[in-house]
């Protein structure tokens, strides 16, 4: 009897040993396989999202080049762009689109200090501080090294100012003393791209709020929400009329942003383009900013 038990025991140990080896191997394979599948799946989803966004970008550009913005109608199969004042809208369940005509933003390179002071004051910054900010911005952008008090900008900032073209609004974050929340207000209202005129009817809601009384802002917003909005309505509500710099026309400088929101993928792309559909010796699309 003992002999039989002993033989069974040896066989059992062998089986257990082999099972343990095989189990370790299988567990290791399973774990790494899972990791590989997860990584491959993520990359695959990301690539699918990227292709979808690229496809949508091209369709959007085609629509921008071929549809007339003077009329509401879009050509068959073209994407209907719901607004040009930066209000996000969904093309399908997972792609959010934001389109902003650059004429609807204030041009940072042609800074109107009074306009900036009014806007900052309306958004809750104290008048004295708003004037100070406008001075700081002016000194950062202008070409000389003197402040309005004829002192040195280098001394004011502690280092040399840009004194030239700002390539990205984040450049303003280098201004000593400009607070992040103040920068954020400026970032939402200004652009580095200037089409040569300003069209307040295409300004984002945040800028309308900063430039007009609350009642007018609410009226504009409510009409925008109800889609009963155009430049005539805007002019009637706000009293703004066309002038040398204010022109109620769409510009050819468009910023558009695409966000893919789905599953684990969160892809975000942004471009600023200059469109010249009728140019005969230049490409019709010039990418001024490509954050694709």
């Amino acid at each position: 009897m003992n002999l039989h038990y002993s033989e069974r025991g040896v066989a059992l140990i062998q089986v257990l040993l082999l099972t343990a080896i095989l189990s370790v191997l299988v567990l290791y394979f399973t774990q790494t396989s899972r990791q590989q599948v997860a990584v491959a799946q993520y990359f695959n989803d990301n690539t699918d999202a990227f292709i979808e966004l690229t496809n949508l970008k091209n369709r959007l550009l085609f629509s921008l080049l071929t549809d007339s913005r003077a009329s509401d109608s879009a050509k068959p199969n073209n994407i209907i762009i719901k607004n040009f004042y930066g209000e996000p809208f969904f093309i399908d369940d997972h792609i959010q689109v934001t389109v902003q005509d650059q004429a609807g933003l204030l041009p940072i390179h042609f800074l109107n200090k009074n306009q900036l002071v009014n806007m900052l004051s309306s958004l809750g910054i104290q008048l004295q501080r708003s004037i100070q900010i406008s001075e700081m911005l002016g000194n950062w952008l202008d070409f000389d090294n003197e402040t309005s008090n004829y002192s040195s900008e280098t001394e004011l900032f502690g280092y040399k100012a840009r004194d030239g073209y700002v390539h990205d609004l984040s450049d303003l974050l280098h201004i000593e003393g400009l607070l992040p929340e103040e920068y954020d207000m400026i970032r939402r209202a200004y652009t580095i791209h200037y089409p040569g005129f300003f069209n307040l009817a295409l300004a984002p809601n945040s800028l309308i709020k900063g430039l007009f009384p609350e009642s007018q802002f609410l009226q504009v917003k409510s009409m925008r929400d109800s889609a009963a909005f155009d430049s005539k309505v805007f002019s009637r509500v706000t009293g703004v009329v066309e002038s040398e710099e204010m022109f109620f026309a769409p510009s050819n400088l468009i910023e558009f942003e695409l966000k893919y929101i789905g599953g684990d993928v969160n892809l975000h792309q942004k471009w600023v383009v200059s469109l010249e559909p009728y140019s005969d010796f230049r490409p019709p699309i010039n990418y001024l900013e490509n954050r694709g």
Binding site: Q14, Y28, F50
Partner: protein, 231 residues
Amino acid sequence: MQHSKGFTIVELLISISILSMLMFTGSFVYSTISNQWDKELGEFNNHFAEARGIRLLDKLLNGVMPFVIRNSSSGSPTMFFIGKADRLLAVSYGGIINSTYPEIFRLTVLKNKIDKFDLVYQATSSRKTLLLETEQSISFEKSFILLKDLDSADFEYYGWSDFTTKVDANFDRNAGQIKWYSEYSGLENKLTPEVLKVKLVKDGKNLDIVAILNFSSEKLLQYYLTDESTE
């Protein structure tokens, strides 16, 4: 009875031999399969890193922007862009470290230990570095290999020879010719190229990454001709 309780030495030797063979076979199979798996895992990781590197490089190059700085001695505006066949120094909206802010970067093709080439990325965020003039030293905060073990990597630039020719060509098509260069200096030409291409070869396979850039970089310099920046 006593005889039947124990094992003979032959039985023991046979069973130990069988067990050893089993153990040896088991561990050999384990290590073989495990190594094979690790190798495949390594290949998978390499492919993944390569695909990721190509995607990031594409994004980086397409985001290259005309960036005006001032000449340290004369104060005149010029373009921050130095492109050679084996390296590129520029600013991009599509930075790899942090794409929230434009990134000042340098891509360099370097020979590695196995006589292949690595594409090395060095960068600093424009949030940290205020780039203003030509003689300014730039310290890159991050540096890593973007693509490795390439057979070759060559940069090419499609652009105008200089600012004046480009501006003239906007009015007169016969003023000059846009063409491909193996070197392109924005500091000298006062322009950035309109197209940027990097030709990658790995294991005999070719891949060209082509980036269409802002083709009106001259407008940024024209801004400096008139001081209308503030009212």
